[in-house]
Amino acid sequence: MRHRSLAYRRGIDLGIRLISSLAALFGIAMLSWILGTVMLKGGPAINWEFFTELPAPPGMPGGGLANAILGTLLITLLAVVLGVPIGLAAGVWLAEFGQQSKTAETVRFAANLLMGTPSIIIGVFVYVVMVMTTGQFSGSAGAVALAIIMLPVVARTSEDILALVPSALREAALALGVPRWKATVGVVFRAAKTGLLTGTLLAIARVSGETAPLLFTALNSPYWPESFNEPTANLTVTIFNYAMSPYDDWQTLAWGASLLIAASVLGTTIITRGFLWYRSRQS
């Protein structure tokens, strides 16, 4: 090994320390820059009208995004109703029945593949399956796309959480003559309640900021959402459309919607993460 003077080695070490501290600072600075921008530009757009009124026609001042807010809530709700039970069931099978079998490995592999699939591809898939066949963009197609994105996330997190429940609990229940399904739903679920809830919340937070899978499924609409069988207004596609428009009012609304989306997604993430951290410290 080459011999180097101590001063040289200390110098290199100091340099690297400096660089890595600056890099961490850079990351935090970028986060603050992005969040600061969203707050500064989105803040002025948030007012009573923003939550209660329909968008104004182009060029007209005022208006709000009440329809898009409601649409996003409805689409996300339907996605949760479709995606969470199936994902949970898949997680139960992996943790309780499949375990280390070949089939279970295949399911896990498929879930990982699905998690790594770009969300725009899910959009294309749902377009071909639901929009092309019905000839109609629809809120339900958007919800299905979001549900497909949630599905593998819920399956894998719930498997991990259920696997943590001590098997003594299951065995105790089974020894009392409780059928397997009841032991799972009544005992294992109850023991894993908070974990399952936070896992689901994180999955919901993740999909509620998604845009790409809604672009050509739910599309967008300037009207109130009336049925899931027609294009449905939603916040994220509205941001995309309005940001690309030449109207200042619309761009302001897009910033307001960005603030709303960012605040709800980050808020949910921080609260659930903080809660998990708090719990892990208690036990």
Partner: protein
């Protein structure tokens, strides 16, 4: 007491949950099948030439994937070139240098970057970052090396460079958090023995921590790569959406995902739609391949580590 006769629900429960699990497998197969069927008109019409043709002209029904594939590759490459070294030093800071309280806060902030929806990156990129790049960074880069082909053309802000930088920010938290976990797994004894020999922190990192965790770090990079390659909204906002290949990083371009996002709803013709779906198929194929490689790599690593111990 006479026991009530129950219908045994256990088999039903078992089959229902199994069906949900298999549903995930079917879904992946279904996506692949659907994309192939949807792309059929274009697959038949253009054949292999689709991948190497640069022309994209909906008016004349001429479609080629080359500019989109090129844009995806270049923007991802820029993103990874920035994100990988940056993540490594940030992970180093979090594990080796920062006091625990600072490390937790800074680590949390970096992880928060991953929770920001991509459309927010897009808004910030289009309205704040791209103009900043055009006013302050690009003119300086152009002055720095006059006539350098990568930095030619007017500084518009929007283009490959800004798309790449924003991608870097988006994958940074993923690579950082995996790298941090890997660094933390290095046994303290091994590090302490190096410190005991008089090594500096950087020497311990370079000669002990990184060699010990290199495979995990490579796995993390695959993960980040998979994210970057399919990222849609942030790229669509800032890449400029132009179906041409330019050597300059300042020039506008497009990526597979941005082309899909911009043109999918406009495609009225069967062939146009087929070409777009085929682009999606290419993207899906690439991400599948990346994940297979990553999985194979991690397996090999696990086996190797198992053999050592």
């Amino acid at each position: 007491m006479q026991p009530k006769t129950h219908t045994n629900l256990d088999p039903t429960f078992r089959w229902l949950t199994l069906a949900s699990g298999l549903g995930v497998v079917l879904l992946v197969a279904g996506i692949l099948y659907t994309l192939v069927i949807g792309a059929m008109p274009a697959l038949k019409h253009f054949g292999f030439g689709f991948l190497v043709s640069q022309s994209w002209d909906p008016a004349f029904m001429e479609f080629g994937a080359l500019s989109s594939v090129y844009g995806t590759l270049i923007s991802t490459a820029i993103g990874m070139l920035i994100a990988v070294p940056l993540s490594l030093v940030i992970a180093l800071f979090l594990v080796e240098l920062a006091p625990p309280a600072v490390s937790r806060l800074a680590g949390g902030a970096i992880e928060l970057l991953a929770a920001i929806p991509s459309i927010i990156y897009g808004m910030w990129g289009l309205f704040v970052f791209a103009p900043f790049l055009a006013d302050h960074v690009q003119p300086r880069l152009a002055e720095l090396i006059p006539g350098f082909p990568l930095f030619e053309g007017p500084p518009m802000g929007i283009g490959m460079l800004s798309a790449g930088i924003i991608l870097a920010l988006m994958v940074l938290p993923f690579i950082t958090s995996v790298t941090r976990d890997v660094f933390q797994m290095v046994p303290a004894v091994v590090k302490e023995s190096a410190y005991g020999m008089g090594s500096t922190t950087w020497e311990v990192t370079r000669k002990v921590t990184i060699p010990y965790g290199i495979q995990g770090v490579v796995g993390a990079c695959f993960l980040g790569l998979g994210r970057a390659i399919g990222e849609t909204m942030a790229v669509t906002f800032v890449i400029g959406n132009r179906h041409e290949i330019s050597a300059s990083l300042f020039a506008a371009g497009n990526s597979i995902a941005s082309t899909l996002a911009n043109e999918f709803t406009e495609a009225s013709d069967e062939l146009y739609l087929g070409a777009l779906i085929e682009l999606g198929l290419v993207l899906f194929g690439v991400t599948l391949l990346l994940q297979l490689v990553a999985r194979w790599w991690l397996r090999r690593t696990a086996r190797k580590m198992g053999a050592v111990r």
